[in-house]
Amino acid sequence: MKFERIILENFRQYYVQERLDFAKDNQRRVTVIHGVNGAGKTSLFLAINWCLYGEGVDNVGELISKEAIKQASPGDTVTMSVELSFLHDGERYLAKRTRRGTRMLDGSVQINSSDEFIMMRILWDGQAQSIKNPIGTINAILPSNIRSYYLFDGEKIDDFAKPEAAKEVKEAIYLVFKLETLDRARRHLETAASDYRKELKTSTTGELLNLLDEDEKARGELGKKENRKVEITAEIQAARRKINDIDQRLREIQNAKFLQQQRDRVEQDLKQRRSELEDTQNLIRDISTTSYYTIVQPAIERALSLLEEKRERGEIPSNIRRQFVQDLVAQMQCICGRPFTAGSPEHQRLLRILDNALPGSLEDDVLEITATLRAFNERILRQRSELTILMKRRAELVDLIKDLDAVSDDIGRQLKDSQFEEVSRLELQRENFLTDIDRYNIETGELTRDIEGLKEKIAQLEKRIAQARKNEKREKLLSIKFDLAQKAADAIKDMYQTYADDMRLRIEGKTKEIFKMLIWKDSHFRDVCISRDFELEVIDRYGRPARPELSAGERQVLSLSFITAMSRISEEEAPLVMDTPFGRLSSQPRNNVTRYLPELADQLVLLVTDEELRDQARANLESRIGYEYILEFDPKTSCTTIVEVRR
């Protein structure tokens, strides 16, 4: 990340709009912003933090410019915003955070809802593309929790070098070197693996195999039964052909001819009667299944009877419409055309009907219901009559078939008892073939039932197999998910300590290198180390820990060395923004720091007082300064203007 430009609008003492460009060249990478105490250096520092991260900078008083609030009328909206453009990984970004408030009567400002934060990526053609997850994007570029190692307050810079700072040092290394990220990833992947394991335990392993086995057996059995059915059908046809042959032979034998011909007629008749019986039974079945409403017939008859009784008592109209009766009364004429006089019995009868008449709509309803019930009743009666006829016909056919069977049996018996051996033998054979056909028919029935059952079973199995296949695929996937999540968690666990130790040792080496470069008593300090417990320690020439004895300036240099070492080792391109960094340094360390600091950061933004940067320190930075500004505070308006003094 390299800052390009910042535009402040009504942010603290920056009234209306102020703009500042940052130096970002490789040679001139330093931006110096001068300001006396209270001129607005910390406000500018806050503006960068607030724009990118929002939270955590609110406890520094009102952020909206007091001058902007003062200039607004009650009810007016006051807008404060900070816009920051920066470069990262070869792409250009724009981030803008806006806060709006309403000026109240008492001069205060009521903040409207939450701050608005937008982030855009500027494409190669200059088009701006909105970023859907700006917070996540900022955290991927420069995470909120490590920003304090890049954007830091010079007055707090020695925090890392304090004796009780092991926790801060450890946290800094954890966060900057993504050890926290690794640790979280490992824990979350372990949780995922554990969830997958639990899910796997409840799965139905082996179900598909059992079902496929069952399906194979069912299909094998079905095949056998179908083959047997085909065999039996062939047997039946063969037996029938034999019977036809025997019948033919019997027709040819003089002594059997008559009986055989008689049997042909009987069998023909039997065939017709049986066919008729089947049709009759089908009709009976149809009527029986569709005439379910016959059960309401008693209710219909009772309803019709009640309506009739009421009609006779004159409580409901007859089947004659009210309008028709009114017309008769108006014409004083009977239906047959005979006139009647007022007060005559006919006239009085018609008037009574009219008195008892119901309102038009109700009259219609009564008439319609009566008609519907009658039609229904007639239909039931008609079907009942049809059913009676069919039942009678069935009984007749059953008797007829019995008689014909008896005749056929008698013919068979006569032929079997024939004194002619061939006739008797043929008839016996015929009877055996018929017995075989009966037996085959029974077996066919059983086979048909079994085949239908097996087909049904196979259909069910197919559905269960399809489901089990889905489950098996799911289980396979779950198993792979478990394996991958667990192995990924284990891999992180295995590499974590190696990586953490490697990073710690590399920071240790770099901190030592930078410290030796910046410190002015380099011969006094022999070593800098970071223990496994993340204690940042300085060893003096006597081989003793020297940190407790470090001066404030030396502690500041040690902290600065540690921070810049982290920046160098992490290889993350990030600006170093330092608010009043040299306040505690005397001239020699300040000279050392200003000489080497530009080399230790990709971009350096220094917010300094007029006292902090002068003489040799200023001369050291001279060739590296790209932009230089003065924050001019106007005591009349309490507002600050950013004045560019060098580009």
Binding site: P143, K178, T181, R184, A192, L484, K487, A488, A491
Partner: protein
């Protein structure tokens, strides 16, 4: 870059594991400022996607 350095740590592992680690690290990094981010679902999505590809690959090899 630190991200590449982290990914290089896992080069000896199976490519599917490397992909899962790289994607989960990116996800965790995006939510690093939250104390307890709810990442169960997105992590499951990452693992499921990569596991599905593995399953497809295994099926292809079987064919």
């Amino acid at each position: 870059m630190l991200r590449e350095k982290l990914n290089q740590l896992f080069t000896l592992y199976d490519p599917a594991i490397q992909t899962i680690i790289a994607e989960v690290l990116t996800l965790e990094q995006a939510y690093i400022s939250m104390k307890t981010p709810h990442l169960k679902e997105p992590i499951d999505q990452i693992v499921t996607r990569i596991a599905s590809k593995e399953l497809e690959r295994m099926d292809e090899h079987k064919d």
